[in-house]
Subunit: 301 residues, 2 copies
């Protein structure tokens, strides 16, 4: 089952304690698409500028990602520059140039409008809603957001939350959105805003899934080398949705397995800068790490 | 199988965003002993002052804890005053009065010297070593420590580490002890110092266990109400050692189950101030939450 993702396709300039990378392929839709492509076909909705190189398009097409909905506009591609602290959980945005992203209105090709699995990446909630309006038969819609939209587009974001199935959000954003410091209370408050499932991303500490009937918790896969955490959250969402769409199993068990596959893919993402690790990743490596993940967390069998 | 614990028995004065408590029973040995007592008999080695009330001794004896090794000295009991931030992972020590603890030399009653399970709570490494010297047939020795000893008694601490089986330590202390920021590297470096097993406590994010042959990770039990994190780490260690001593199963599977029992007991500790929740806890509640913990983390079965 194919997945539609709307989000940013960007140039990322990244500095970590271990090195730096200039204008590498980044953005929420990019990480999501490449991650999800290990399990399901992906269609991207987004915008790039005239400076976007063919080489980066090849990364998508090499993964079989459908680019019909990726519009090229006059101007420059969205560019983010960030710097990570020694504690890789902390980062500063040094520069942010929206460029062609400002004023972008998503327009879905006809071939996209029957998508059943949809991921609304971290962009303006009005754009997320516009995508939903153009879809005819969604089966599962997941959504991400960030502090900027929570603080500045709260009304639009609340409308989106009433339309979606699953919110994927990090812990500090969950606190901000709910006004609750305790993460269990925060998740319960967000469930009342519309989503049936809330996935709380906690970076190196793993993921918590909340629904009305259950909670699932898993650590992240422990890594000796983390080079660049950029895109880990979107890779997680991509692996999660990709596996979910492939299996079609929306039961609690199916959701949990999808979460672990998402965690596995994200654990590869952070092993190198940008999308470098994912572009040389094989499904065999994913499956092997999933088995290790089972062994890592098992006290049940 | 009974467990010997050496550590502090203290008055704790605690302030959290949810309230405060004055001079309640605290200290590493106290939390450990009460937690472990749900599974195994416990013997305490420690020191109290003349001001230590009978009422607090009754808390120990009510849990069947052997107090022969708890010496009463002239002077006042060790007193710690701490304040937690809204983020309960952060706390400040406001006052610290060693009182009778300064100059304390542990002297084990004859009936203690055959203890096979030993927990060296967070005290001066020289005192920890002195306890080890008086023991004749240890089967499993676990140890805790803190930044103060890592920074100021490094040589003595390294000697202790060469004698023990299991180090129980929180993540920031593991980084400090190893000089490695990445937690997997930190644990690997600590394994080279002597312990066969390193348990990294990550507070609300759970626990990681490292040995040469495997890694185990588990989240913490998610709670809607956390009133007071004091003693969570020592309760974890107590539940862990208590269950391990009861089962006698030192296999990877036995260790993992013990870790989860430790996490369960710690999750009760933080639900009320000081030892209040543990003193009204039943083994039935522990078993019920263990089952919930299985359900929380299961994607294996």
């Amino acid at each position: 089952m194919s997945i539609l993702v709307v989000g940013t396709v960007a140039f990322d300039s990244i500095e970590t304690p271990f090195g730096s990378a200039e204008r590498v392929l980044g953005g929420s839709a990019s990480y999501f698409a490449v991650a999800a492509s290990f399990f399901s076909p992906v269609k991207i909705v987004g915008v790039i500028g005239q400076d976007f190189p063919q080489e980066y398009l090849t990364i998508f097409s090499g993964r079989g990602v459908d680019l019909e909905g990726l519009r090229r506009e006059k101007g420059e591609t969205f560019h983010w520059r960030g710097r990570y602290h020694e504690d890789l959980n902390v980062r500063d945005t040094v520069e942010l140039h929206l460029n062609v992203l400002s004023g972008f209105v998503p327009h879905l090709p006809e071939s996209y409008r029957d998508a059943e699995y949809v991921f609304l990446g971290n962009i303006d909630p009005d754009m997320q809603m516009e995508v939903l309006r153009q879809l005819r038969r969604m089966r599962l819609v997941a959504c991400d957001t960030m502090d900027h939209w929570i603080l500045n587009s709260g009304v639009a974001l609340r409308k989106v939350l009433r339309k979606i199935e699953t919110l994927v959000i990090n812990d500090s954003e969950a606190r901000l959105l709910s006004g609750e410091h305790n993460i269990v209370r925060a998740a319960r408050a967000i469930l009342k805003m519309g989503p049936k499932v809330v996935l709380i991303k906690r970076g190196e500490y793993g993921v918590l899934q909340f629904s009305d009937s259950s909670i699932f918790g898993t650590p992240a896969y422990p890594l000796e080398e983390v080079f660049d955490p950029t895109g880990a959250g979107d890779s997680f969402a991509g692996g999660f949705m990709g596996y979910l769409a492939r299996s079609g199993d929306h039961s609690e068990r199916g959701l949990r397995r999808s979460i672990v596959y998402g965690s596995v893919v994200a654990s590869f993402t952070v092993e190198d800068f940008g999308l470098k690790r994912l572009t040389r990743l094989s499904l065999g490596e994913v499956e092997e790490r999933y088995q290790r993940f089972l062994a890592l967390t098992d006290f049940h069998t």
